[in-house]
């Protein structure tokens, strides 16, 4: 109490707003505060986000090998070339396949496991830690490990042989028919822990009293989960879907480490294509970057507009006080 009483006058001391020019001084001070706190971040943001994005858009209109001057303007030729290259179209298709599969497979899986782990189980902490381990592993380490395990002479095939399932052995990452789904399995292994962690955090926010009240009213476990827990978990699920969508569209490192987009483009993604085909052709690479940016932005905006409207009401448009 004493402290707060002493702090009171200290705040209003000094050149306090006077009754003659209350508005101007108040506004000025507000802008000074905004400038002071947001200014440095804004400058960094403009320099390292806005300017590169704008520059990529400019480069994408040129035929440029990054060595000479930027002078061969070719309009939208790079975009036409990208969108008429079957390999790039396949890469876009792969991105969306992974996006949809993530939501339809990883999401329900993560929710189910989170619901199980939210109950009182022996060894729950250990199981939670184990599920989260892959997410903590560095992407390159995880990718290289899987690449070794899944190679024709690798651990997975050796295990199948040892179990008498020699007929199932495969060059897992070299078979174009299954490579994308093998890649999806690796991604699920890697990112499921993060999804479960988010869901578990969301479940902490579901009041226990509601469960108890429902149980008293005679609801069974399944009814409680579907009628109470899942609806209340909605905001968490929607945020996870959003993160998963952006991650799927920008997927690069795991694919680069394990397959570099192969075999014959089966696991290619837009970002991998950009690196491979942008080498020596920075104008073309920039066009790919812009397409990737526009697709990601469009998906994000549409999703926010329709799915996350309630979650974000006010926070994105009018600012948080």
């Amino acid at each position: 109490m004493t402290t707060s009483l002493q702090a009171g006058p200290a705040v209003t001391a000094g050149p306090a707003p006077t009754s003659r020019r209350p508005r101007t001084t108040g506004t000025g001070r507000k802008w000074l505060e905004i400038g002071l706190f947001a200014g440095p971040a804004l400058i960094v943001f403009i320099m390292f986000v806005i300017v590169p994005v704008a520059l990529a858009a400019v480069y994408s209109l040129y035929n440029w090998n990054a060595l000479g001057p930027l002078e061969r303007f070719i309009g939208i030729d790079n975009y036409v070339r990208a969108l008429s290259d079957p390999l790039f179209l396949r890469a876009i298709g792969n991105n969306f396949t992974i996006l949809i599969a993530s939501i339809l497979i990883q999401g329900p899986l993560a929710i189910s496991i989170a619901l199980l782990l939210n109950r009182k189980l022996p060894g729950r902490a250990v199981i939670r830690a184990l599920i989260f381990v892959p997410y903590v592993l560095a992407e390159v380490i995880a990718g290289l490990s899987w690449k070794l395990l899944l190679s024709p002479r690798g651990g997975v095939n050796a295990l199948l042989e040892a179990m008498g399932l020699g007929d199932l052995t495969q060059p897992w990452l070299a078979n174009p028919d299954i490579a994308l789904w093998v890649m999806f399995s690796i991604l699920t292994w890697k990112y499921l822990g993060f999804a479960i962690l988010l869901m578990l955090a969301g479940l902490q926010g579901v009041p226990e009293e509601l469960h108890e009240a429902a149980a008293i009213d005679g609801a069974n476990w399944w009814q409680i989960q579907t009628r109470i827990t899942l609806p209340l978990l909605g905001p968490t699920i929607r945020i996870w879907v959003f993160l998963s969508m952006i991650g799927s569209l920008q997927l690069f490192d795991m694919v680069w480490v394990t397959t570099k987009g192969g075999p014959v483009g089966a696991t290619n993604t837009m970002a991998v294509y950009m690196i491979q085909y942008g080498q020596g052709q920075y104008g073309y690479g920039s066009a790919i970057a812009v397409i990737l940016f526009v697709i990601s932005l469009a998906v994000a905006l549409v999703y926010q507009r329709f799915a996350m409207r309630r979650d974000l009401a006010g926070s994105m448009t009018t600012g948080v006080r």
Binding site: L67, G68, R81, A174, P176, V264, Q276, Y284
Partner: protein, 430 residues
Amino acid sequence: MMNRRAPSRWAALAVASLTVGALAACAPTDDSASEGDVTIRWWHNATSDPLQGLWADVAAEFEAANPGVTVEVTGYQNEDLQRTLIPNALQSGDAPDIFQVWPGGEVRAQAEAGYLKDLSAVAADLIAEYGGSVKPWEVDGVQYAMPFSFGITGIWYNTELFEQAGISSPPSTLDELEDAAAALKAIGVAPIAVGAGDLWPAGHWWYQFALNACSTSVLQQAIPARDFDDPCWIQAGENLEAFLETEPFNDGFLATPAQTGADSSAGLVANGNAAMEFMGPWNSGVIGSLTADAEVPPWLGWFPFPSVPGGAGDPTVTMGGGDGFGVSANAPDIAVELLKYIHSAEVQQRFAATGAGIAAHPAAADSLEDENLRQIADGLAGSSFVQLWLDSALGPEFGNPLNQAIVNIFGGVGTPEDVVKALKDTAAAL
């Protein structure tokens, strides 16, 4: 009045002293090497011994012979260096003074952008000593870089596995190669390893078939002109398709990397799981680094690519290339002196003796101790013309579209026509 004039007097004095200082700095010196402190930055592609150690020694020797000169020498991974670090450094205006330059399209792109010093006059004696091997680093008659290593591609093989499979001598025709592959399969060994996961090793197979299918004049005219209308380019793909039908390659070759790890194509050869690999002259070092004791195995042999019947290609034309060093356009003159030292007969002989590659200087040929490298050097000497690897010769824009189209043939989803289309489309987009 005095007070008002004082600032202009001070200004005049300052200008005068600056002028004197500037003139003093411009004054001619007798020995630029020992005048003032100079730092030369040198980037190369050796990330392990013996070459990394050799270049460090060379830098230290040059520093000792030239007081006041500091040489900062750094080795980077080959592709990172060439594809990312050097272009970025050149573009940012902070280029290293001496750096690796690939021949063909790469040196042309850098030279045309004005980043490389013209060595024709300042290193004329050295260029004369080297002879023909400097040609791939020449652009429109001007020498922009000097090769330190140069060699041809061939087939590296396991002599012990050949013996076990009852193959008495290395195949000299494509039919014999196919027979050898069948014999090796019979003893449970993958006949040929190829790292198609990295694209370019598969590309090399198509390049070689193109060399066999196309006449020398087509190679020498079509590649600089980027004109791929001759039917021999399609025939190259058809020959490759026919060869692929015999299934000579390791399991899962579409995802096999070339040089990293036990499951790479070089690793399969190093561990005795595959018998052959079609690869450049650096491969003994790569295979050596992947064996259990990190030594080049005594059973490693080399033979030139077998002849392919029916093509217009000259059998004495070989495929190869090398690494060179160029000097940045803005580098101090002393950097040219270091370049000359690196490429001197004495340093080149020491390079040859390490076994890390084939030195480009003719005087270093006798210093090669490794038997396989000697064979490659002999093959090089017997070549009527060395065609650069086509992705190098055509330039950086062609690498991925060309190699991907070739890998599509390997994967059974592309045609010989698709490869030519990729070449034409890329040429049209330039």
